[in-house]
């Protein structure tokens, strides 16, 4: 029996009360040798930071699996629109990536995107990346500097992040 789905509604401005009480931005111990930082800013169509957004991450572990339930995190943005996760580069076959969902006041349903890692040889053969234009590919790939991966999320405009339809 197919039932009508429950519609999405915005998280509103006060979601931290229910969703950000327990910090969930460290998927692994920051002291781990293979720990990386993955983060950036959430920006609106005017280029202004979105200080009341929340980013959720879901990714495989270094072996490409979800051992012990690994792979989920959540981070509310700060006054500069910044979010950051401490995690590891996903392993396994194929190009590694993390899935992100963005929630915010003004978003009536989440926005979904993927973060791929720059300079990864497996990116060439990734079925999604191969099907995209160069600009769209760039909008799904992090910048890197040391163990830090930067991924700004532009909700709107010329620099809009490449979002996947939900």
């Amino acid at each position: 029996m197919a039932a009508g789905a429950t519609p999405s509604q915005t998280v509103g401005p006060f979601f931290a009360l229910g969703l950000c009480v327990r910090p969930r931005d460290e998927l692994v111990d920051p002291g781990r040798a293979d720990a990386i930082r993955l983060g950036g800013r959430v920006l609106d169509g005017a280029g202004d930071p979105v200080p009341d957004a929340m980013v959720e991450i879901w990714q495989a572990d270094e072996d490409g699996g979800h051992r012990n339930g690994f792979g989920w995190g959540r981070c509310g943005t700060d006054a500069d629109g910044r979010y950051e996760f401490v995690t590891v580069r996903p392993g396994g076959d194929g190009a590694p990536y993390a899935t992100l969902l963005v929630f915010a006041r003004g978003l009536l349903k989440p926005l979904m995107t993927r973060v791929y890692f720059p300079g990864e040889p497996a990116n060439e053969a990734d079925p999604l990346l191969s099907a995209l234009t160069g600009a769209e590919r760039a909008g799904l790939t992090a910048d890197s500097a040391g163990g830090c991966y930067g991924f700004d999320i532009h909700l709107q405009g010329e620099q809009q992040t490449t979002f996947l339809a939900l």
């Binding site: 039932a3 915005t10 959720e56 879901w58 339930g69 899935t99 989440p110 999604l128 099907a131 809009q160």
Partner: protein, 237 residues
């Protein structure tokens, strides 16, 4: 191997179950809605996995928002219950539901809430509950008050409880708001009315439930949740 073809759409479920990203009556959507095409991920690239909970770290008071402090909060005590199902009608067991809401006066315990209504020292307004083996959940709270917001002149939100549900796949994540039957503020609320289909909008309204209403104690409201509504005919870009 020939490259996969992906579709591009303006909005995933435009005009269907979920609200569009751009709903100009809700002012904050204007600069926060994507205006470039979204990529339609082909079915074979969908990730069926998602975070799972069930480790028993929840306390009993997590599901009773009236018992998190020394005294009882002010307001109408309510019991909210329902079943979480997937689109095929199958119950979704062991799914985490996170809840947050305003107090009976319409005020959130949040630093950015400037509504000059009293905070209640006995009410935080946050809770968590896991669905049981049959997909059912139940929590106790107080009925939240309506509150003003700055979307337009004399804007008021109908009373609502925010709910976040994990579901089975990450793409099944749902954040929604549960409303109360017969609220006179419905016609004037752009968030409620961002859902175009009246039947879908109606599914955001809980029902007074005599089965769970408890004599001399609390009114029961039923709110059933169906996950996975994104997969409808999208609008081409």
């Amino acid at each position: 191997m020939s490259p996969l073809a992906v579709g591009r759409v303006r909005d995933g479920a435009y005009g269907a179950v979920h609200p569009p990203y751009l709903h100009a009556d809700y002012r904050s959507t204007r600069l926060r809605s994507p205006d470039r095409p979204l990529i339609l991920l082909p079915e074979e690239l969908h990730d069926p996995t998602g975070p799972v909970y069930g480790d028993g770290r929840l306390a009993e008071s997590d599901a009773d928002l009236t018992r998190q402090h020394d005294g009882e909060p002010v307001g109408e005590r309510i019991i909210v219950s329902g079943t979480v199902r997937d689109r095929d009608g199958r119950p979704v067991p062991g799914s985490l539901i996170e809840i947050w809401q305003a107090n009976a006066a319409g005020r959130y315990l949040h630093e950015r809430d400037r509504h000059p209504a009293p905070l209640d020292p006995n009410f935080t307004g946050a809770g968590r509950v896991l669905t049981d083996a049959d997909g059912r959940y139940r929590f106790v709270s107080i009925k939240p008050g309506a509150y003003p917001w700055r979307n337009h002149q004399n804007a008021w939100r109908p009373a609502h409880i925010h709910l976040s549900i994990f579901g089975r796949a990450f793409t099944e994540r749902l954040v929604t708001q549960m409303y109360f039957p017969g609220d006179p503020l419905f016609p004037a609320d752009p968030i409620f009315n961002s859902v175009r289909d009246p039947a879908a909008r109606d599914r955001l309204i809980s029902r007074l439930d005599w089965e769970t209403t408890t004599a001399e104690w609390a009114l029961g409201f039923r709110f059933d949740i169906v996950l996975g509504g994104s997969n409808s005919t999208p609008l081409e870009a």
